[in-house]
Each structure stands twice: as C-alpha cells, then as structure tokens.
Amino acid sequence: MSANPSKNIKQFFFSKRWWILTTVLLVFFTLWTSEFQQANTTSVLVSTLRHSTPLVLGAMCGLLCERSGVINIGIEGQMLMSAWGGFMVASTSGSLLLGVFAGIGIGMMMGAVLAGISVGLRGDQIIAGTVINIAALGITSFFFSLGRTLPSGKAQVIKLGPLADIPVAGRVLFSNKPITFLTLLMIPTLWFLLFRTKWGLRTRAVGEHPSAAETVGISVIGMRYLNVIMGGGIAGLAGAYLSLEAVGSFERVMTNGKGFVALAVMIFGRWNPVGAWGAALLFGYASAIQTQFQFRDWLTDDPQFIGIIPFVVTIVVLAGFVGRARPPASIGQPYSRE
C-alpha cells in the first residue's frame, strides 16, 4: 500500500480504465439510442438488470464450484430443472415462496449429483455436467404439461419506500422483484465470504493446491461437496427466477443457453462475484439492446441478427479474455488422497 492516497486513486482508475471506458461508451450509446428520453433510458436499464440476474447467479454458482476445483458445465441443466420444479411446486401449492425453496432444493440435489460423480467417483467433470444438462432436458420435456398456471401470478415488484421515487435510479435499483433484490445482496456477501473468511480461504486453497490444503487438515473432498451443492442451490435460485419471477410459467428449454453464458460471465469476471456482476451487466445489456434496436427501427426485418448478439459477445469475450484470466490451478482434476 502506498502512503500517497492520490497516487492510489490514480492507480485504481488506471487499472480499471477499460471498465470505465466501456461504461462511459455504453452510457452514451444508451442515451443516444433512447433519444435522450428518460422513460426509454430507464426501461433499457431495467431490462439490463433483469437479464443480468440469472447470469450473475449462474456465474456465482460456477465460481463457487471452480474456486474449489470443480468445473460445473451443468449450470444450464441445474437452472432448467429448478425452473421446472419450482414452477410445478408453486402451481400445485399456490405459494411462490414454496416454489422458490423447491427450486433451490432441486438445484442443491443436482449439485449433489455433480459432486457425487465428479468428486466422489472421480469421473470426468465436463462429461458429468453434460449428463446433467441432457438429463434435465429429457426430464423437464417429459413431465412438461401445457396449461398449468401460477394461481398467485408471478412475483410482484417491491418498492423500497421513497428511494423508489428517485428518477431513473429509483426505478432501476430500488423497485425490483424479490429474487433480484436477493441477488443484489448476495453479490457482496459472497465476495466477503470468499475473500475475507476462513471458509473462503479454505475454498480457494482447495482449488489452488488441494494436497497442501489436505496437509494442514482441510478436507478437500468435504469442501468440494459443500461448495458444489451450495453452487447448485444458487443455480436453482436462478431457475426459480426464470419461471417464477421473470416469466411466470415454465416453457420447454426456457434457459436458452443462459447457463453457458453464465460460465463466460464467470471467466470475464475473473472468478470474482463483483467482477461477475459487472460482466453480467454487460451481457444483460447485450440482451437488452434488442429493445434499443426497436426504438430506432434498426434490423427489425432481420431479428435473427439481433438474436445472435449475446452469443457472439460471449464468444468474443472468451476468445479475448480466457488466455489472460487464470483459473484456479487444480481445476478439472479429480482429487484422491495418495
């Protein structure tokens, strides 16, 4: 730490220059495309946050697993199963809260399956994740039934008193649905847990150098089970968000690749919850931009070109950043005590 505070601030801004530049450019682009109208700008920002919520949740699931050394390519399947399970429970019982808990529970069960195959039985982690994705697709399609609805309707917006009346920021940040608020709280919480607590230190140790961690008495297998199951719960929350908060029903293959985009978000955010949030907002913006194009009447005859934007952004980000971002060292390797 340097003693000179102004130098520190300069360094901070210099190290974050790309983030700052991107943000400024995006703000400008948003204002321009929404024709400098407050209502348009607000709706784009609201839509960005809405699209980013399942992505940052998925990314937090991924980074919990990967920080402890387990690749989770099955986030997509975990989300899909939870979206379906949460919806079924909520539509049968009539309680959204019960549905959300069911979604989290199913996500944790799917996490346990992944952990069982890849940690317990030391199977290949990517194949294990793919199995989860395919199984989720088959199971949810088979038990999918048309015409089911939520008796209570989807989750409603909660306004945080006078804060919600602030122009633009009030609508975007302080007037949201419950899982969105929960997500906004979880981001700093997970960051704190990972980087400032004993559990976080152990998790990272297990991911970087498992045999060293084992030597000082940390149970590598136990930590990996715990984190992968907890991660599954977070992916489950993302699934519940999709069916109970965003859409209000279950549709076949409703995750639509979000679980994989979340992995790119995780890498772009460098396995850090706060970084992942920034990345998720960027990706959310790539999805929200579709409305922007409609405002300006661009490409409305060729919607397919708008539809590929989030996926192309994912590829570009992966190709551009993966080489420079360093994953936890022991990732992908099954651990066995010799």
Binding site: I117, D124, L137, I315, L318
Partner: protein
Amino acid sequence: MMNNFRLFLIPVLAVALAIATGAVIIALSGSSPVDAYKALIDGSLSDSKSIGRTLEKATPLVMGGLAVAFAFKAGLFNIGGQGQLVFGALIAGAVGYGITGLPWIIHTPLALLAGAVAGAMWGAIPGILKASRGAHEVITTIMLNFVALNMTDWLASKVWREEGVIVRTPHIESSAEIPRWGELPAGFFLAVVVAFLCWYLLRSTTFGFEIKSVGLNPNAASYAGISVKKIVIMTMAISGLLAALGGAIETQGVVGRYEPGFNAGLGFEGITIALLARTHPLAVIPAAVLIGAMEAGGSMMQFKADVSPEITDIIQALILIFVATPILVRWFLSQKETNELSVSTTWGSS
C-alpha cells in the same frame, strides 16, 4: 479377451438398466410398460417399412455420434453438432435446388460435398479459437449453435426462401436426391461407409496417430514434434464435417428441403451415442441404430400405449448417466484397467 468382453458388457448393461428404469417411470405415470415397449418394437423393427424408418432416423445419428467420437479422440468435446448439422443441411438444400441440369452422378455428391465443407468451416471456428486463444470448445460450440440456428433461419427466410407463407427452401432437384432401395435408405449405407473411413483413418494413418497422441497427452505430443494447434483445428473441422454430412444426407435423402427447426436436439444425441459406443467409430453404428429405433417407434408408442414419446428422451438420458458415470465401469473392471474418457484437462488453459 476377457477385457474386451467386459468392455462390451458395460454399454449393454447401461442400456438394460435404462430400459428397466424407463419401465418403472412408465408404470408410475399410469401406463403399462409391456404394452409401451411392445408398441416401440412394433413401430421400429416389425417389418421392412419400420426398419427403413429406423435406419432413416439412425443415419444423422451415426454422423452426429461420429462427430463427437472423432473429436473425443483428440481430447476435444464437440457439442456443436447441432449447428454444424443445420449448416450442412441448409447448404446441401441450396445447392440441391439452386443448380439445375446436372446429372445425378455429379449433382448428388456436389450437394453433399457443399454441405460437408460448410460444416467443416463452421466446425473449424471453435478449433481456431481454442488453438489461438485458448477458448474452451464446450462453450464456443454451444454459443455457435445458437448463432448457426439464427443464421440458417435468416438464410432460409430471406435468401433462399420458397415463394409462399411457409419459411423453407424450395424442394431440391430430383438429380440431388439420395435414392431409397425399396424401403431401405441409401443414405444409411453412406453413413456406414463414413464410419469405416473414420475407423481406418484413426487406426492406420499417421494423421490418426497424431490425433490420438494429442488426445492422450498434448504436452508429450508437442514434444514429439506434433503441431497440437494444427491437430486441434483439423480435428474440429473434420468433426464439423461429419455432423454436417449427416444434415446434408437428411436434406437430400429424407426431407427434400431445409426447414427451420430441422432435427432439433441431434447435437445432444450425438454425445449419448458417442459415449455409448465408448468413442469407437464402428460401435457408433449399432448405438445409433438403437437410438434411431427408439425415435422411429416413439409415435407408435404414443398411439398404441398412450405414453408420451419424450420417455425415449428420458431413457436416453438414463443410458448416458449409466454409461458416463464410472460406477458401472468400476464394478466390472479394476481401477488399472479403466481407460476413462477425460476432456477436462484443457479447461481454461491457453
């Protein structure tokens, strides 16, 4: 000898277990599993017509399974079969209707080749991204699937669209059609020939040896003078070519044109088949026929036994679980003998 027998036993047991579990699910959903499976066999294997349908369904599955199995040999996991297949199907359809006046002996292979080359180019993209930038192919191929679906959708609705309300390309010329021999689709035999070619390439050529070396240990392969980057790109291109050829055969032999929503879900079935075949190119053929029979008989099962045909998706998922989880393998083989698949070694490394 004993080992070979045991290796053969694992997939058979996985299938048996999956079918048994499927029976329990059918019973739980209130239908008779015996009736359901009888109808399934009725619709897929009972006469020459249903066998023809089974082989027809199995054709793109052989190619999709080969695409995944081939990439596995180099330690690569190609989940992009779906995108590569639709590109191959669309381009073959475009060449099939756009070029007229050619004799079939030129037109049919030309359309197949055009589709295959399009798929090879599309498949090479994740290979290049992996070799040059270290982007893992599992994510890039899935993202490219979504891109491919949108792009083919656009091409079919804007560029090569048939006059009329339905979004699809015009029907191909008869000179580009792959014939049927009685009830048997010739395309299936083409797929079998390709499977043998893959087997030969991997078993008896230098290129095949290089692919397997990279798959077993990229560092050692690199030390031995093999260009790992070149092999990664070439393997992904060939894998894409195989999947796309499956799409081209489907267009020219079955559907006759390209329509959006073409053969959805095939990319995943290719994974099931490749793992069921334990990535052996020749074993892909029976594995694909098995899955093809399930698909051919699915509608009969719904008609006769009132069981949703998605049960076959569940059975496939169960097969995959039993094949891919090492539980079964551990039961039958001791630790040392297992030669398990691994594709996690290159995650995130550049």
